[in-house]
């Protein structure tokens, strides 16, 4: 408390951040915006832990010999890298941070339908994370993030159980988040917010939530069976008494393939928002983009067998899975084409979120098309379990989801914290990320095609040049991730104060102050126009004027 009454600085109007500073007000908050911040902090932590394991792997792969770590250690490194980044960053990332913050705001609601459940899901997430971090600290786990039986159930001597419990628990966080989103989108829309006026971000999160609800319980029961197998040897996956380890793979991928759409669909939602805003155009073919999210969610449940082309499933099943995998590429392609068409004749501003979004479109297209290579039965036999697969899914997950996450974080940063990020530095970082990413993973396509198998700590000499390139790229990429980490934290205190709508964007979240008040809106908004009405004249409100 200042003793002087005359020089008290002008206080920002009351918002969700400055309403209460106590620890309790954060840890027991039921405000979706504060819970989003809790997710932001925890997810950033897991991102850097998972990234740390990637650094060690890339260092080991600098030389063909296994000189930095032993084979067993390397197995643990790639397992924990995958586990932490899939279950504790990619899956909860965009829904937990941006979804939590924006779903109620975009539809004009005061909160999610079940605020306490929302807080509970964060605590469940953290509990699952603690089990996993315990396993990491106690010596790690080496089964690969896929836990294939019977290795994971019978032979592995590492902390499979603790990690399994961690994954099992954190799944319920995912289920509760999805449930909350679905109910919120159905029942909490502001007057006039019809389904086809919803921002595409909402459609994407709705589709994601469907997968979370239908898929996650299956991984829960699968991991539970694995745990029982390990604890009591119930024999369901044990070939010695007639159990079927392939059944584990079926159940695992029944969730884990749709789970890749849990990771990419919210990213696509972010890209739709960013492209429309920085092209100042309505999204081309709105309803096609909306329906393509739903189509991905549905079709995504029928393609899991493409992970098992060489696992001993029936060739006829493989044929069907191959065809269905080609089909699921169609809605993804619709999105890419429609984003591109949105850019056409748009007033394009190459701000930081847009740089990431444009990077996303290019990189995701490569990731998606190489997915089609892998859906080809013959070609998949050749490149299965090689770096080609590694490069493919990193193009989608890192080039796609992480870039979209960064696009979204920059785009909504002013709204979340009321401060602008430093534009020049952020653009520089975006370019570093793009270059570093491609230098890391493009060589891996070639390595894989040449036959370098994944998950080995040593490799043949002729692969070294490309591996050195990849490691060099990884260090650039790592730098690209550290720069935003630094300036975003810096901007919280020193960034330019953000206006209500710094990017002249459309959408309800931009009609309230930055940062928003606890109840989001002064009064419940009434929606009278479609989403992305960038083509209508509206520049009369002072806050919308571009500086």
């Amino acid at each position: 408390m200042s003793t002087a009454t005359t020089t008290a600085p002008a206080r920002a109007p009351e918002n969700y951040l400055n309403t209460d500073y106590s620890w309790k007000s954060w840890l027991l908050t039921i405000d979706h915006k504060r819970i989003a911040i809790l997710y932001l902090i925890s997810i950033s932590f897991f991102f850097f832990v998972g990234g740390f394991f990637a650094v060690l792997m890339r260092l080991e792969l600098l030389t063909p010999a296994g000189d930095l770590v032993q084979a067993e250690t390397y197995n643990k490194l790639f397992t924990m890298h995958g586990l932490i980044l899939v279950f504790f960053f990619l899956i909860p990332g965009i829904p937990g941070v941006l979804g939590n913050f924006l779903v109620p705001m975009m539809i004009g609601a005061r909160d999610l339908a079940f605020p306490k459940l929302n807080l509970l899901s964060w605590y469940i997430f953290i509990t699952g994370g603690l089990f996993t971090m315990y396993a990491v600290a106690a010596g790690g786990v080496d089964t690969g993030w896929t836990f294939y039986t019977p290795y994971s159930s019978t032979y592995a001597n590492t902390h499979v159980l603790a990690v399994g419990i961690g994954v099992f628990i954190t799944g319920f966080s995912s289920i509760l988040t999805g449930l909350n989103f679905i109910v919120t989108i159905h029942t909490m829309r502001a007057p006039g917010m019809t389904w086809f006026r919803l921002p595409l971000f909402i459609w994407a999160h709705y589709a994601t939530s469907i997968i979370m609800l239908l898929g996650t319980p299956v991984i829960a029961i699968t991991v539970l069976l694995l745990a029982l197998e390990r604890l009591f040897h119930i024999g369901i996956f044990d070939p010695a008494i007639g159990g079927d380890p392939i059944l584990f793979q079926h159940l695992f991928w029944f969730y884990s393939h749709p789970a890749v759409y849990i990771m990419i669909l919210p990213a696509m939602g972010v890209i739709s928002e960013v492209i429309a805003c920085f092209a100042k155009k309505r999204v081309f073919g709105y309803s096609f983009v909306a329906y393509s999210s739903i189509a991905i969610a549905i079709l995504g449940f029928f393609v899991w067998g493409h992970h098992m082309f060489v696992s001993g499933q029936s060739p006829y099943a493989a044929l069907v899975f191959s065809i269905l995998s080609f089909l699921v590429a169609i809605p993804s392609a619709i999105k890419v084409f429609n984003w591109t068409a949105t850019l056409y004749q748009g007033a394009i501003a190459l701000k930081t979120p847009m740089l990431y979004a444009l990077g996303f479109i290019g990189v995701f297209t490569i990731g998606g098309l190489t997915g089609l290579f892998l859906a080809c039965l013959g070609l998949d036999v050749h490149v299965h379990d090689t770096y080609f697969v590694v490069a493919h899914f990193h193009y989608v997950m890192v080039g796609g989801t992480v870039m979209a996450y960064l696009a979204g974080i920059h785009f909504w940063w002013p709204k979340m914290f009321g401060r602008m990020y430093p534009e020049f530095l952020a653009r520089f970082a975006a370019i570093v990320v793009f270059c570093g990413f491609n230098l890391t993973f493009f060589p891996q396509f070639i390595l894989g095609y040449m036959g370098m198998p994944r998950r080995y700590h040593a490799y043949a000499e002729e692969f070294q040049v490309l591996n050195v390139l990849s490691t060099a790229g990884a260090s650039i990429l790592g730098l690209g991730y550290l720069i935003p980490m630094c300036y975003l934290v810096w901007s919280l205190k020193y960034g330019e104060v953000a206006r209500k709508n710094p990017f002249t964007a459309r959408g309800l979240e931009w009609t309230t102050s930055s940062p928003p008040p606890t109840m989001n809106f002064e009064e419940t908004p009434v929606v009278t126009e479609e989403a992305y009405a960038y083509h209508t004249a509206y520049l009369n409100e002072e806050d919308y004027v571009v500086r």
Binding site: L112, L213, L228, G235, I241, G243
Partner: protein, 228 residues
Amino acid sequence: MSASSTPARRAQPLHAAGLAHHFEDLPQQHEAARLGMWAFLITEVMFFGGLFTGYAVYRNLYPAAFRLASHHLDVALGTTNTAVLIGSSLTMALAIREAQIGRWKPQIGYLIATMLLGATFLGIKSIEYHHKWVDHLMPGPSFDVSVFGAEGPHARIFYSFYFVMTGLHAFHMVVGLGLMAWITRRAARGDFTPGHHTALEMTGLYWHFVDLVWIFLFPLLYLIGRHG
């Protein structure tokens, strides 16, 4: 309101009684709760669905072993339990009915009856489990394969499914009993009025769902090959 109407609730400023801060009105809140509960039940269907899938795969692979192993289950106790559980669903539905017409005492009575029936089910279930324990039919390496001759190892898989499926069902029953205790306390406090008894209705949905799982488990586990 009838004579046994609820004790008066304290009036809350600005909001109707029981309306959370983020909803516009009670119907919206009720609608959200109902949709949320149904969505949750769908996740439960998928959760048990993984087990039913596994069961279907192995029953198809080892039909003889499953028939043989199934005949070692106690059909009399299983049938009794089915009746007990269906009875508990009836009392649950009646409790909600009483809340709808605003009768307080019978509402509490039916809720307590539901809890007693649920506890009876778990009691009978634990007697069955104990029998299997005595007969060395618990899943795991201690399973006495000699009981089933050549089909022994595959019968062990049947019993693994039996214990995992009924065990998870029993776990849901225990959770259900906890919910019932909570809801009975709220009912006794007079929380539920004919216009507003969402929590009671949601607990009822959950209870019926858990019953329904048993309705599928009972024939699949106990009645294999008994039709003729």
